[in-house]
Symmetry: C3
Subunit: 342 residues, 3 copies
Amino acid sequence: MEKTVQELAQYLQGTYENDNPELKITGVKGLVEAGPQDISFAVPPYVEHCHKSRAGVMVLSPQDPPLDGRPVIRVENPRGAFALLLELFRPQEEVERVVSQYAFVHPTAKVGANVAIQAFSYIEAGAVIGDGCVIYPHVYVGKRVKMGENCTLYPNVTVREDCILGNRVILQSGAVIGGDGFGYVNQKDGTHTKVLQTGNVILGDDVEVGSNSCIDRATVNSTIVGSGTKIDNLVQLGHNDVVGKNCLMCAHVGISGSVTIGDNNTFAGQAATTGHITIGSNNLFAGRSGVIGNVGDNNKMAGFPAQPYKEWLKTEASLRKVGDLLKKVKELEKEIKKLQQQ
Amino acid sequence: MEKTVQELAQYLQGTYENDNPELKITGVKGLVEAGPQDISFAVPPYVEHCHKSRAGVMVLSPQDPPLDGRPVIRVENPRGAFALLLELFRPQEEVERVVSQYAFVHPTAKVGANVAIQAFSYIEAGAVIGDGCVIYPHVYVGKRVKMGENCTLYPNVTVREDCILGNRVILQSGAVIGGDGFGYVNQKDGTHTKVLQTGNVILGDDVEVGSNSCIDRATVNSTIVGSGTKIDNLVQLGHNDVVGKNCLMCAHVGISGSVTIGDNNTFAGQAATTGHITIGSNNLFAGRSGVIGNVGDNNKMAGFPAQPYKEWLKTEASLRKVGDLLKKVKELEKEIKKLQQQ
Amino acid sequence: MEKTVQELAQYLQGTYENDNPELKITGVKGLVEAGPQDISFAVPPYVEHCHKSRAGVMVLSPQDPPLDGRPVIRVENPRGAFALLLELFRPQEEVERVVSQYAFVHPTAKVGANVAIQAFSYIEAGAVIGDGCVIYPHVYVGKRVKMGENCTLYPNVTVREDCILGNRVILQSGAVIGGDGFGYVNQKDGTHTKVLQTGNVILGDDVEVGSNSCIDRATVNSTIVGSGTKIDNLVQLGHNDVVGKNCLMCAHVGISGSVTIGDNNTFAGQAATTGHITIGSNNLFAGRSGVIGNVGDNNKMAGFPAQPYKEWLKTEASLRKVGDLLKKVKELEKEIKKLQQQ
């Protein structure tokens, strides 16, 4: 792959400056690793590192400062441009679309066109695999699972019976979709008897689930993840959770059972919620937030129990003053005693 | 499946009121989804939602209010009744009891009667699989593993060598039983050399382990989980832990190594303990508790470091007053200065 | 296996006291389980339990007290001696070095000498498996993966394309090496479009990764784990992390993306960091530390946000006094009012 800076500016719908438009670029790399034939990018606070980079051309936003006469392509969203450049210079390797003779595909499963099912994968009775899906080795697809088009299931994924996947769903290795929810009846003798988990999981279009994350099937009805929601590694979604569209859930997030969550929420790492609550849309929960009650829309929250971010900052700041406060109050006590003795 | 309300009341050992005893019920659903031919249930605080439900009959406790003349079956434990109704109307699908020709079963393994071992599962030398066990695809059962009767191992489960499972054990997908404990000797040159983990894991009867949870084998002797203990997803039990009977451990709980835990303890989500401590019985640890010392019996604890729940509530309440306290002390300081200047 | 105490003292490079040097020892066990023919060990605070042990001989350090005339072998590092005794009395079972006819090994993969590849494992095109590696069932080794000598990959491990493993790397069951990093471009319409994760993961010599832990591949370049670093279960390392040598990361630790970490750091359970920070060497982060900024060398830190351990202790102590402080300030207020009314 070889592109001129002019071609790249056009591809990125950007403008270029200080450059020989015929300069040939052959790769995309990080600021530190890039050489004279590479394109790189920066966003604040990394823009200042551009001066030290050996990259042939750099992608910046119109708001970033000029670069001492060095070649720059300006675009609105340099991170987005970087993603486009990766797709141009490092396209994903094509997977051969064939059903391996070493895979097990039940005769009643329906497999679409242009599908790859690799060795040692297991497709159960009544499963439907949409056109263009890629199923890596050691994947289990349970009975009557329905999968849309162009899904990718990486090695060692489990999708249990009756779950439904939209189009372009990506399941990273070790993800478990539709494991039994954690539901028991506590008996008088102290034992816990299992409540059958008879529902399923529905993942909308463009959902991605990270490595070793778990989304439990509903007790009845469905655990639902809305279209465009992206889930990182080692995340837990409990039974009967309903998550909206375009949410982001970072690693180690834990959502208890029967929680309803709106659209466009971000849960940073290790954030968690109690069960049976409702969370609106457009909220941001800072890392390790612990949400223990309903939340409306458009909040930025932090702490445990989670509170509005600004209040949390104040609380945290005040707590750091407690040591001084203890000393101060002792002094005041002495002053008062002196006054009393006058 | 079709049952009259009378038959259902009998099945649930309850009483019915306001009903045509011959009304036919064909399914069990949640309050919101249920229609006129469905039975549903409610427990506080959801009982008030019954009025809006279209369910043909609802299961409530004798303590719940009357339902405006609508049909009700009264039982002591509505949640337990719901579990029974799920077993009646939505019995688990039977798994064909056959050893797949695509599974690997070592010639020295002993496989009981009525066992299913599905394709691509691997049963090692000397393993014993009890009667009625169901082993899904991609399960690994190591050398000399002993498994009681009627266990269920979902896809992608690993049970390492020499581990012992009781009867009716359920391992959800991705669970790892008997992985090496995290044990090293720190050498003077800064390196860490591995301590062989030569023990095993013993799971009692009716233990359930959630998706992608890990129970490490002991360094010597056994990591033990007592009968009836239920473990949720993504939980970590360290080497040489000994957990009693009928405990509940929710998602993301982490128990460090060499911890001894009694019976009937509940660890809510993300709760964790330090290593080498002893915890009694009948304790409840709130979500994200951090237990750093021994704990007796019958405590409800919260916070990090974990403290009695009521103390924790007081502490949390007092901490929220620190901001005001800072202001108040400044005012008092001024008052004192005034007094001093008089 | 049968060794005299004299032979064992020699093997451990220790000295023995109070003993019949010809006493025959046949096993190594914990203090509680050991019998008269077993050797055991203790380190503080467990040394006092030695008196109750039935062990034939015990390993202690020269600093520990005498044991009432009972046989003792003295060594500098009793825990290290215990590890050596486990290797002597309980050597790991040899795995038959053969490539199973039920494994899939791509014709272009290069498999070294003395390698075991067990049934249902999948070795992709261009992969290189070094001499002496042991690959258990259900392992996926992606395209062009390079693996050094004597690595052990337990069942259900995934190593994605282009990752590189050093010598003697151990991957516990369910570990995922090289899953996609969590990278998206946030579009104006609220959707998140995937950034291709085109880099890889490099694990140094003697790295161990615990069960169901995840190390994400870099967006570009490499996520790196230095030689000798040991990672426990359910740990998350984000894309482009660079971790130094001989670190220890306990269960449920989460390191966000683009974090640079030096050598010899210990992260206790559930500790976590924000992204894009730099951490020096020789630091100890207590359990559940939350690191939100750069950290130098040689620190012991705790709390969230993480602060120096001693400060954290003071802060925690002062916070426990807030309840009393509130009362005290109310009293002072009354005293001041009295003074004002005089």
